[in-house]
């Protein structure tokens, strides 16, 4: 296995980390409208991810930075090509971060409601757009011989990519619902499980179609295994959810994300961004990668830093392991924020 293949795997790992972690916190953001009935319940939801959302989001920056370093051509083509969708995602992430931090810092009803609305939309839109983006990466887009994206915005909104968007949207919502069931107590926990079942069934249908479509288009034996793992773990996650095994359900919905991302990357390899115009113009792990020297340095950095990150982030989840319910949220929102 050459270094650029190692880096293909590492990029996949970083994106997997991002979708696993920010996946549930996008989902929780969506549940603030879908599940919560009043402000205290919305606050319970927001506080399940309060201490961790920021650390989760860094997985995206790591994936972006690592792509820049290991596959500069991929980074350049992807982000200049998917310009407007990426702009929307960035705007959402900016507003979303500020919304979490500022929502409770003023007591006014309007202020809090506006930020809550912002949290919902800025969770929902990126959850959808990341699927569209990956649908386009895997499905292939119009790339010319200079590795420039020459398609239009409308080319990015093709049926396969849009279906990909629906899959990430529903899958993250499901993932968020089982996370909520795992992290809360009281009525909201019961309702989260019910909602997880409904969303999970829709996810199962959409994800199966999307992954099969991918398999037929560009899959191989390995991607078929990943596909089977993804679908099987999703179904088992649903069963665990019904059985009230919340920990298992969350682990399995996470495994679904891991396997689905693995499946997409396996069907991509050895391309990183296939061209739909001419196979010779596709970006591959070889023609898009950095020099062996840079890859070697980056490998050392990632090999040491990533496990440490996983360790201290896991520790964070352990520190905040207690379930929370409406009784844990101080009634005086503004006073709570002043401290």
């Amino acid at each position: 296995m050459e270094l650029h293949d190692v880096w293909f795997v590492l990029i996949a790992v970083l994106w997997t980390g991002y979708f696993f972690l920010e996946g549930f916190d996008f989902g929780v953001g969506i549940l603030t409208k879908l599940l919560a009935r009043d402000r205290p319940e919305r606050r319970v939801l927001i506080n399940t991810i309060g201490p961790v959302w920021d650390g989760n989001e860094v997985w995206l920056l790591a994936a972006g930075g690592a792509t820049f370093a290991a596959f500069p051509e991929w980074y350049a083509t992807l982000f200049s090509g998917f310009y407007l969708p990426l702009l929307i995602i960035l705007v959402c992430l900016i507003v979303r971060g500020v919304a979490f931090e500022y929502r409770a810092k003023r007591p006014e009803e309007n202020w809090q409601r506006n930020w809550e609305t912002a949290i919902f939309w800025t969770s929902l839109i990126p959850a959808f757009l990341w699927g569209v983006a990956f649908g386009n990466i895997v499905g292939g887009v119009k790339i010319d011989q200079d590795f420039e994206y020459v398609g239009s915005l409308w080319d990015l909104l093709n049926p396969y990519a849009l279906l990909g968007g629906l899959v990430t949207l529903t899958l993250f919502t499901f993932h968020g619902a089982v996370f909520t069931a795992l992290k809360t107590v009281g009525d909201i926990r019961v309702r989260a499980r019910k909602l997880a079942l409904q969303v999970g069934l829709i996810t199962a249908v959409l994800a199966s179609i999307f992954l099969l479509w991918t398999q037929v288009d560009s899959g191989d034996g390995q991607s078929l295994v990943a596909l089977i793992v993804a679908v099987a773990s999703l179904v088992t996650a649903l069963a665990a959810n019904q059985a009230g095994r919340e920990g298992w359900s969350f682990a399995l919905s996470g495994l679904t994300i891991v396997a689905a991302v693995a499946m997409l990357f396996l069907s991509l390899f050895p391309d990183v961004m296939p061209s739909s115009l001419n196979e010779d113009w596709s970006l591959t792990v070889t023609n898009a990668s950095s020099s062996p020297y840079t890859l070697k340095i980056m490998t050392w950095c990632a090999a040491i830093a990533t496990p440490i990150v996983v360790l201290y982030q896991s520790w964070t989840y352990w520190v905040f392991r207690k379930r929370i319910g409406t009784q844990h949220i101080a009634a005086d929102a503004a006073a709570g924020a002043v401290h």
Binding site: D54, V58, L60, G64, A69, S80, L86, L87, Q327
Partner: protein, 502 residues
């Protein structure tokens, strides 16, 4: 095509706007993280309540600020790919690595431990809670170092070779990129300026409360801490600025000649106090100068030759082919002066404050005050400032609290525009760095979107800061004074509300 709307111009404006905006939050984040951690350390060691109150107060302002720093930083990570794809293709092999290091090492550190610190008051024993803030502080400093190393490579490319076949620059010595003198001097200069910024912020806000005789205990402590930070930070900023200037005279003589509007080389070279010139003809119409000082700034003596703009332009034309290698001279000239002027004004105000509020043992008995009284501002031994002058000192401290922010912004504008027309000095020109596939409409859209979003957020942020500044330090609760002894919190009451919630 109208030049004002050329993609290169638009992309540069967008980069300038988003980066200067991002950098309003960065220096405050770096310095307030360390200062808050310092105050919390004092609380853990002495158990004096004023330190905990001060920690909570400055910690809150720090959080309001870092939220903006974090979200505007996301744009920075992706902007190179969006607007500068040819730059990314050409230098990604080198420039990407420090960015990836920054994300993998520094961003994870900051973002994970900040969550632990915010929500950890009733979940972590106090020493571990304190350690989290120090982790955040280390994260911010590491982050600054990696990105400054990357920027230094654009100022002075080292440790690379050009791969003709692939048409790109490739890394040959990463250690050199991280430790070249440009990177060390830039990091030294930027970090000390960050502390000057945080110190002035602290002094100004403390002065606001002391002028009103409120929260005196906490604000006196904060004032001293702020003044010392301004004095040390300011001194180090000046020293490192001098070092960086000398390095730049070696590495980018054009930038420094532009900073002085020195059109033709002179020996000894004068320092320009004021200049007004004709860029087309390449000379000054009005110039007020201090003889020999520029030679001293550049080469440490009063007689050395310093090359001028016209000389360097000619030399670069011979080396790189026909073209105009001059940056925007008025921006470089005035940017350099605003940077030094605003920064050093803050430094001076801090030094004066440090003298006026010197420790009790240096003062006669009748001028010493108790812990809960506003200090006298004492100019000479036995001679305190009158009430009017005292009031004015506090006011000046309040009004100048943002001076270092202005200085920082001009510093970046100077150093980045002063490098033009190069994006990587001597290697890649800015016009060759933009995304060829991105349309004017797309860049214009994103520029309008980011600028208006940032403007709205600026209003929200400043109002929120003002609210919490005015509110002053919070009253401490029972829970604050009895931090948990076990990680995860003491389980005395399972239904107890969280000490902090969003």
């Amino acid at each position: 095509m109208d030049l004002a709307l050329a993609p290169e111009t638009l992309a540069r404006w967008q980069f300038g706007i988003t980066t200067v905006y991002h950098f309003l939050f960065v220096p405050l984040t770096i310095s307030l993280a360390a200062l808050t951690a310092g105050l919390e350390t004092a609380w853990v060691r002495t158990e004096k309540e004023k330190y905990l109150k001060a920690t909570k107060f400055w910690g809150k302002l720090f959080l309001i600020n870092i939220a903006m720093g974090v979200v505007t930083g996301i744009v920075q990570e992706f902007q190179f790919g969006m607007n500068w794809s040819d730059y990314s293709r050409f230098v990604g092999d080198i420039f990407g690595a420090p960015l990836a290091f920054e994300a993998l090492i520094a961003f994870f550190f900051e973002s994970t431990f900040i969550g632990l610190w915010i929500f950890g008051w009733d979940k972590l024993p106090k020493k571990i809670h304190l350690a989290c803030m120090w982790m955040v502080s280390i994260g911010t400093i590491l982050s600054a170092y990696f990105i400054l190393a990357a920027n230094s490579w654009m100022q002075h490319p080292v440790g690379y070779k050009i791969n003709e076949e692939k048409g790109r620059a490739e890394l040959t010595d990463f250690w050199l990129v991280l430790t070249q003198n440009t990177a060390l001097a830039q990091a030294f200069h930027t970090l000390s300026a960050a502390f000057l910024t945080g110190g002035a912020f602290m002094v100004g806000i403390s002065a606001f409360h002391l002028l009103r005789k409120r929260h005196i205990r906490e604000m006196k402590t904060s004032l001293r801490l702020g003044l010392v930070t301004v004095a040390v930070g300011g001194l180090l900023t000046a020293v490192s600025g001098d070092t960086l200037g000398k390095i730049m005279y070696e590495q980018q003589p054009m930038k420094m000649a532009a900073a002085e509007a020195l059109w033709d080389g002179e020996a000894p070279a004068p320092f320009s106090v004021f200049a007004y010139g004709d860029v087309e003809k390449g000379h000054n119409k009005v110039a007020i100068e201090i003889p020999g000082l520029l030679s001293f700034l550049a080469k440490d003596d009063f007689s050395s030759y310093v090359p001028g703009i016209n000389d360097v332009n000619k030399a670069e034309q011979e080396q790189f082919g026909p073209g105009d290698y001059r940056p925007n001279i008025p921006v470089a000239y005035w940017g350099f002066r605003w940077m030094i002027g605003f920064g050093m004004t803050s430094f001076t105000i801090g030094l004066v404050g440090l003298w006026l509020t010197r420790k009790k043992f240096m003062l006669p008995q009748h001028l010493r005050v108790a812990d809960d009284e506003v200090p006298h501002l004492v100019l000479f031994r036995k001679k305190p400032l009158g009430p009017t002058l005292t009031k004015w000192y506090w006011r000046i401290a309040i009004w100048t609290l943002a001076f270092p922010l202005i200085a920082n912004s001009w510093g970046w504008i100077f150093t980045e525009t002063g490098r033009q027309p190069w994006v990587v000095y001597g290697v890649l020109q800015t016009r060759d760095a933009v995304s060829p596939g991105v349309s004017q409409g797309e860049i214009l859209t994103s520029m309008i979107v980011f600028t208006s979003l940032y403007a709205i957020l600026a209003v929200i942020e400043v109002k929120l800061l003002a609210k919490y500044v005015k509110a002053g330090p919070p009253e401490l609760t029972e829970a604050d004074l009895n931090p948990p002894t076990k990680i995860g919190g003491d389980s005395r009451d399972a239904d107890k509300p969280m000490a902090f919630s969003y």
